[in-house]
Amino acid sequence: MTDSDRNDILADIRSSLEIASDIPFAVGADEQPLEGALAAELFDDPQTMRTRFAEELAAVSADFDVLDDQTAAAKWAGEVLAVDGFNTLVVAEEGICLDIAKAIQSDRPDLEIIVAGDLDGAERQARLAQPSAALVEVDYALADIGSLVVLRDNTASMLPHFLPESVMVIVRPEQLLANQFELIKVLPQDAGGNMVFITGPSRTADVEKVLILGAHGPRRVSVGMLESAK
């Protein structure tokens, strides 16, 4: 790139903008009715919001369960693991997911636990690219579209969210928000820059429009809403 490219482009844009626009609609049109419509979309109570979240997850082929505590979470994760018969469980770092993984391991000594954050970059990629399952946390969940939101800087490794074939996600009730509009309001100031919304397993319909789950990322996404961290 040369500075002249930059300056030329900006100069051309400025000179083009001297021509009056012929695009209808004024800026800010319909602002108020839209705000009203969005407000009407908010949920009356947390239970309705949770029900909608579960419905939306089902619509994108993801599972949803409510987990009373860590013991229930370990039982749930163990059952999900058994569906695909994986012997390796990946967690991003120390924390609640590792605690749950260890609880599963106490019943299943053959289970290998990988803490992605403890591995160096190349080894982490290679290990996680093998068939495996992961147990991860996210930062927010969105009820109206069944999305999970990860702020990248909040996790030691994001590969467990994307490379393994089966991904189990722990969500806390207070992380559930109505929609993306509400999310933007609560995002920390500096968080906008690095974020991923995940909505169901990876998918493709590139072969004759037939929907196939598990294109390059997870084939299975299971969400457990953990009521109590104990």
């Binding site: 991003a92 909505t199 037939v210």
Partner: protein, 466 residues
């Protein structure tokens, strides 16, 4: 594959003769419109969001210089290197240099029409750098040496048998036509590429000015892996792709997946705001954004056609277009196709090369109706047809015919004679047939000259009223 919109007539003839492809494209388009309608119909404030997004885009285009400067400085503050490319050659060189500097002999790419627009793959290959398309549809058309036939679904024109054969030939696997097995073959093949690539290339659906980041929307997770796994990431983005801030993003994310694939949300929405930070989740060590002009600033200079820069490449106008449904994407001869392609081709490539593209439309208005941005494509196509004529790029016989018609139409007596004469001549055609209309491949006829035209009916009405 070297295609050019100059040969549109030939491609259209070929496309119309290919019944299996016509059926596949028409069916896929119909399914896409139905799923789009279902999702859009379930959002009570759909129309309000459309208008909101329109007004946001209008504002961005009309202050594009300011937004670009804001985007650049906020990207730089986030550690993103921003490059400016005047044209395709400049963009290719910038990306090539970044690849050479990081020692990449192979790069993984997620779907990007902008890189197709500048012919990046061919350039990289000529310079000893293997470009690997990782979106399944793109991977298939790359293996076949083709260009995509749809903005969103690149391999729409191919059957599962075609795909089975190309995988067998090019990847050396056993033939299968099972979609799940074909997807698995691609997954295994491409995962190795992801793990060994030093550099990843993507486009950008949106550049977010205030936060200095880009947004890439996808379903397969290949864009996520393209960004996360290699050490260097390059996003090539048209200058018009900006939105003001994160607060504007949810409005666009309501419209884009619904219009593109009939989803409430795409499976992955990646917001990339700089290189990976120490101790935090994976990300490339270097992030580059290439801001591409390549004619966009010129398009901005037409107060009306500027609206075509609002396009978010959802592909909905293709699915709804009766012409696209019959001829598919390859007939347009370039990376942009369908109604919006018909409008973009002559603007990017010039009236000479793109002279036929604005005519690939019945002007029925279905594209405008379905377009989430309500871009008035039929109006723009009319203006572009006019520009083609003014640039003396319409066909020789068409020009002569129009001149003769204009001469006669301005002289009622001459007009009456020249329409009376073919009417009589037409009587000689067997079975009272009409003259075939030139340019319609023998599928249309000119209205019969001896029919009761407007003038005759009007005179009869006048006589009755008297």
């Amino acid at each position: 594959m070297d295609k050019t919109p100059k040969k549109i007539k030939k491609y259209v003839r070929q496309a119309l003769a290919d019944m299996p492809v016509r059926t596949a494209v028409a069916n896929a388009a119909e399914t896409s419109v139905a799923s789009r309608d279902k999702i859009a119909g379930g959002i009570p404030y759909w129309e309000l969001v459309r208008r909101k997004v329109r007004s946001i885009k209008k504002d961005v285009l009309e202050h594009l210089d300011e937004y670009l400067i804001e985007f650049e400085s906020n990207c730089q503050a986030n550690g993103i290197k921003v490059h400016w490319a005047r044209d395709g050659a400049s963009a290719r060189e910038i990306v090539g240099k970044i690849a050479r500097d990081c020692g990449a002999s192979m790069v993984v790419k997620s779907k990007s029409l902008t890189t197709e627009e500048v012919g990046l793959n061919a350039y990289l290959a000529e310079n000893g750098i293997e470009p690997v398309e990782t979106d399944l549809g793109e991977c298939i058309v790359q293996l076949l040496g083709q260009i995509p036939s749809h903005l969103v679904a690149p391999a729409l024109h191919l059957s599962r048998q075609d795909i089975g054969r190309v995988f067998q030939d090019k990847l050396g696997v056993e033939y299968t036509e099972d979609p799940a097995e074909l997807t698995e073959i691609a997954r295994v093949h491409l995962r190795q590429k992801f793990l060994s690539a030093r550099m990843g290339i993507s486009g950008a659906n949106f550049g977010i000015a205030r936060e200095g980041c880009i947004c890439v929307v996808e379903n397969e997770c290949n864009a996520r892996l393209t960004v996360s796994l290699p050490k260097v990431h390059v996003a090539v983005m048209g200058v018009e792709k900006l939105i003001p801030d994160m607060a504007a993003l949810p409005y666009f994310l309501k419209l884009l997946p619904a219009s593109a694939t009939g989803q409430k949300s795409s499976s992955y929405v990646n917001i990339i705001g700089g290189p990976g930070r120490e101790g935090a989740g994976e990300g490339p060590q270097e992030v580059h954004v290439v801001l591409l002009d390549n004619g966009r600033s010129r398009i901005l200079g037409d107060g009306q056609l500027r609206e075509t820069l609002m396009c978010i490449r959802c592909g909905a106008c293709l699915n709804s277009c009766p012409v696209y449904r019959q001829i598919g994407g390859h007939a347009y001869g370039w990376v942009y196709m369908g109604p919006i392609g018909s409008a973009l081709i002559p603007q990017y490539l010039g009236e000479k090369e793109g002279r036929y593209a604005p005519s690939l439309s019945s002007l029925c208005g279905a594209c405008r109706e379905i377009c989430p941005l309500e871009i008035n494509i039929p109006r723009h196509l009319l203006k572009l047809r006019n520009k083609v004529v003014r640039a003396k790029q319409s066909g020789f016989f068409e020009r002569i015919a129009m001149k003769l018609w204009a001469f006669a139409a301005a002289r009622p007596l001459v007009y009456r004679f020249v329409t009376w004469f073919p009417g009589k001549f037409q009587m000689l055609l067997p079975g009272k047939r009409a003259f075939p209309a030139p340019g319609y491949m023998g599928r249309r006829a000119i209205g019969r000259f001896d029919s009761k035209g407007f003038a005759k009916r009007f005179r009869r009405m006048e006589r009755k009223n008297d």
